[in-house]
Symmetry: none
Subunit: 229 residues, 2 copies
Amino acid sequence: MIKNMPKILVVDDELDILEIIRHALNKEGFEVHIAANGFQALEQTRKIKPDLILMDVMMPVMDGMEACRQLKEDTDTKNIPIVFLTARSEEFAELAGFEAGADDYISKPIRPRVLMSRLKAILRRRNAIQSSSHETLEFGDLKIDRERFVVEFMGKSLQFPRKEFELLSFLASRPGRVFSRDEILENVWGNEVLVVDRTIDVHVRKIREKLDERYIYTVKGVGYKFEAA
Amino acid sequence: MIKNMPKILVVDDELDILEIIRHALNKEGFEVHIAANGFQALEQTRKIKPDLILMDVMMPVMDGMEACRQLKEDTDTKNIPIVFLTARSEEFAELAGFEAGADDYISKPIRPRVLMSRLKAILRRRNAIQSSSHETLEFGDLKIDRERFVVEFMGKSLQFPRKEFELLSFLASRPGRVFSRDEILENVWGNEVLVVDRTIDVHVRKIREKLDERYIYTVKGVGYKFEAA
DNA sequence: TGCAAATATTAAGGTATTGTTAATAGCGAC
DNA sequence: GTCGCTATTAACAATACCTTAATATTTGCA
């Protein structure tokens, strides 16, 4: 029902600013979490896995720069974009933030419109279709074109629904390898899905129909695999 | 596997800023060389033939403007794009910079994402210009003339509104490739627009009307694609 | 063989995504 | 200013999709 809105962690020691930003972001539909210093930011980040962190540079306990550095060192968090809030004309701070791995910064005083458009621009970037998975997979008379989102089977071009395509594409990315339902859910549905695993069976059914009952095989008690033979 | 990364020469007399920029560019995979003034910049340029020069305007020994002028006079170096770093509201300096042959300038304070995207854009443009960036695209009875901003469809010449043209043109620039709405926003609307993504749908509607419901196809849950078939 | 567990299958409902229209705001030309 | 065109948004409709639940079938094993 409720769409999966981006989670944003806002970090600032000034409570009123925190509140203002929180409110503004909430209104846009973001899921907002807060922290009051760098240390809390680290904790929160590990807990909630935000899609983006908006962080003040100057803070007690642990400043933004240091928090940023630590987050960028951790494999689990280094890909989370970090946007710094800086006082105007803190040029050096900005450049240093850049070095620490920040993705952007926004000068105070904060203009809501600007804030929004920056955040959205950054988030948009991550929503680009993963370029790494753009190779087309070929197996005899089956071709999975990840660029066109099209499956070609025995000469015919088939439009697969998204989940079916992703599922097939995932399994076919490692032919022969058996994936458990849990692995499939992890990879095709994502981390926080609330889906019964019988759902996979249904998608498998549909795919098998379209592909003449070939390619996807059940390994009972284990999971599914893709096999070209 | 190691790609031939662009060489960038960074010229600034402030060593700490130089270091930070160097580090940041390195992280993006550029091969970075440095110089501390205009004179060194000339030397370095002749030696390493950088793909792009990022240069402060204000420097001792030889300022950026003068260095730029000299580089643009030399046949060997005049095609190397030069980007100036200028203090905020040095409008005059910017104008003078263009006169001196600069390709772009970036105002301090430097915004990381802006810096990167400008540099990449310039490098991209350079690569693109030689090949084919705004040639006219042809697909059977559809012709997209990017020079005249005109679409010819089944013999008739149609004047598309700007956004519709840009959208069609963008999708058609990589036929078959599916673009997510976010990618489309990023590329057609630009970096910092604040536009609801349903806007795309409306433009798509209008384009489809004009093109007889052909060419633009929806991939549900993913995005849109252009297909000539 | 028969039983239990795992997987298949089907159809139906709810939901997310897109389609479409119309209203509004903005911009430029005259 | 007014007219006309474009861009954007909002609101509603349409539909493709995903998921589930209920039931059937298969498989492994006692």
